[in-house]
Symmetry: C2
Subunit: 396 residues, 2 copies
């Protein structure tokens, strides 16, 4: 397949590109390197060293048919620039088989910092994806859009979470006011209601609705990935641990190796889906190699399993102990407004049905990660770790 990877310089994009090339696919990359810029703006860095873009490109060329990197921003501006850039690498219409879209601002706290960052996040993510849909309509309406969403779209409702749409065995009975009778009203196949928890998470919901419409209205096809929280290191990708771009387990591991208490936001009973980065790569490739029909909008809930934050922090402490490090845990007031004790039962069967073989040894993965980052402990910038963004009405 000829695959365009948007966000090919990112945490997922760079290892994904390598794996796709090794699988024999042709790949075109696209990135604007905004992640490098933003992390550096925060005064942070990737803990493990990463290569400059041109060195990465040279390396990718050794792995397979890497067609080149488009340096371009996917944003709200005119679609012509991006369209022409894509056409340079793939001149004829319908010659791109799939587009993996990982090119969004991925930080929830960043989107909650102030009005300006909230607007920038919604503008980049929602309008960028909206323009991409129009480009696909014009130059590759049969291509398969694999789009990164988040399990955070669903929030933590008091019912089971299906994969994207309300399942067929869920019957809604709604009183008919006029006639006093009770009608059986199947809501099946309507989009399952979302209850996201930040303006970033909302962008993924907005994307979901825009993509769903493009599939219904224009007959595009898409796999919308509701991904859990990632962790781990893979294939020379970046490793962020700051408040904004560091995910929970990655942050805990960094805290452990520098002897800082693992900071849990609130009670730590928040439960989420998690997965190692290598499982994310595996799942994305499975999605690409099993495209939906034309016109189909498909959702995959993508995570290895669900864990509470406390469980994961304890695993990090156990892993640290094996390296001779005594790690402790500290509960701090939750800067986010989220249910800390809640029901959580999301479905994730579809990827298993397509052949996903999960990493079941999460403790082992955490141990490996700790070992990998330990040599870099002197490079950790401590003051980017603790949360400074308050999501609530009043600061203080």
């Amino acid at each position: 397949m000829k695959i365009l990877v948007l966000g090919s310089d990112g945490y997922i994009g760079y290892p994904l590109t390598q794996h796709l090339l090794k699988e024999g696919h042709q790949v075109i990359g696209l990135d604007n390197y905004s992640r490098r810029g933003r992390v550096s703006y925060l005064g942070s860095n990737s803990l493990t060293p990463i290569k400059e873009p041109d060195i990465r490109t040279k390396y990718l060329n050794t792995l397979g048919e890497y067609l080149g990197t488009i340096q371009h921003t996917l944003n709200e501006h005119s679609i012509d620039g991006l369209k022409n850039a894509i056409r340079k690498f793939s001149p004829s219409n319908n010659s791109i088989d799939a587009i993996v879209h990982l090119a969004e601002q991925p930080s929830a706290p960043w989107s909650m910092f102030n009005a300006q960052q909230a607007v920038i996040t919604q503008r980049e993510n929602v309008l960028g994806t909206l323009n991409l849909l129009w480009i696909m309509k014009e130059i590759c309406p049969e291509a398969h859009l694999v789009k990164l969403g988040t399990m955070g779209e669903y929030g933590t409702p008091t019912c089971d979470i299906p994969e994207g749409v309300i399942p067929e065995d869920c019957i809604g009975n709604i009183q008919d006011e006029d006639h006093g009778s009770v009608a059986e009203c199947p809501m099946s196949n309507l989009l399952f209601p979302r209850t996201p928890g930040s303006f970033y998470h909302l962008t993924k919901v907005h994307d979901t609705y825009n993509i769903h419409f493009a599939c219904r209205n224009w007959g595009l096809r898409s796999t919308d990935i509701m991904q859990g929280v990632l962790f781990g290191l893979e294939s020379g990708t970046r490793f962020d641990y700051d408040e904004y771009f560091g995910t929970a387990i990655n942050r805990f591991c960094v805290q452990a190796i520098i002897g800082m208490p693992l900071t849990i936001y609130g009670l730590g009973q928040q439960t989420r889906g998690f997965l190692p980065l290598k499982d994310s790569i595996q799942c994305l490739i499975i999605a690409l190699e099993n495209p939906p029909e034309l016109g189909e909008y498909r959702t995959l809930n993508q995570f290895e399993n669900i864990y509470s934050i406390n469980e994961l922090a304890n695993m990090v402490c156990r892993g640290a102990k094996q390296l001779g490090i005594h790690a402790s845990i500290s509960h701090i007031p939750n800067p986010r407004k989220e249910a800390e004790e809640h029901y959580y039962n999301p479905d994730h069967q579809k990827l298993f049905d397509l052949g996903y073989i999960p990493t079941t040894n999460i403790q082992g993965e955490i141990n490996n990660l700790l070992e990998t980052i330990l040599p870099y402990k002197d490079q950790v910038i401590k003051d980017v770790i603790m949360p400074k963004t308050n999501w609530r009405l009043t600061n203080g």
Copy 2:
């Protein structure tokens, strides 16, 4: 109450402002006059003459405590300009009791014209409202946001449509994959799934989710109005009949008076909620005078009743006949992709419970409208009426 009306120069905003002043409320208006500009850009006009903004302001001053008009755009740019403009009229925090938000790009075909117009529509509507939420958080977190959405958010699902959220008597049973048991999973109070039909309608869905979050996260309060299709004339407001800004009945009435066949898109069995403009004003005032609790997100489905397009076209023909005009009907290929035969049973009880007294004589309203616009028939610009935007994948 001190009420800020965003879009105070618009089709609804201008008559609403007059009625609020007559009810004894203090009103601040805000508009950027983009509707005047856009209709003129299309080569169209308001069929009935409208006064210049400064004449309108002078008139509003005679009706009650009109505090002034802010000429400002609600968009994605810095919130400081807008915040300062509002503060000029209402300096102290929490001194605004309610904000009626009618300041969005309201045309579905406009949003489907090309990528650029789709992006402009989503940028203006979604990011404008997002900035408004941050402004409210800062200067009036207790104010009541009355926001204009659309019944089009829901689309035409095969089940009854509740008011905003999944009702309590709708029980969802979702199979628990791991244990083989069937759990009872109430989805009640989750947002009812939306299936909108254009990038414009999608902006209203995105707004819904952003506002819902602001209520949950910051404790703002809002009434989100899912309004049906408006028609009619009231209090010297504008009257558009072009493809983009003219609603169905208004367009039919104009076609009738100029002897052009009423153009029905497709079969005409599409059924929607409709209401006269004067009912919209009545309902908005009811919503304002019955605010929800702090932190509450409330949806009102706002329409008089549901009608098929064929029924309404026939009413327009009957009304025309009384004026001695023989009007005919012509079915043209539907430029929109929508179900033409479908189930439709939306709830709209809440406004009735709050005291809404609907105009039940829709035929009479249509007759009045025809009589009112008949003197302007020579001013009709014919070539703006027929649809030129194709919503489908391929043009042609």
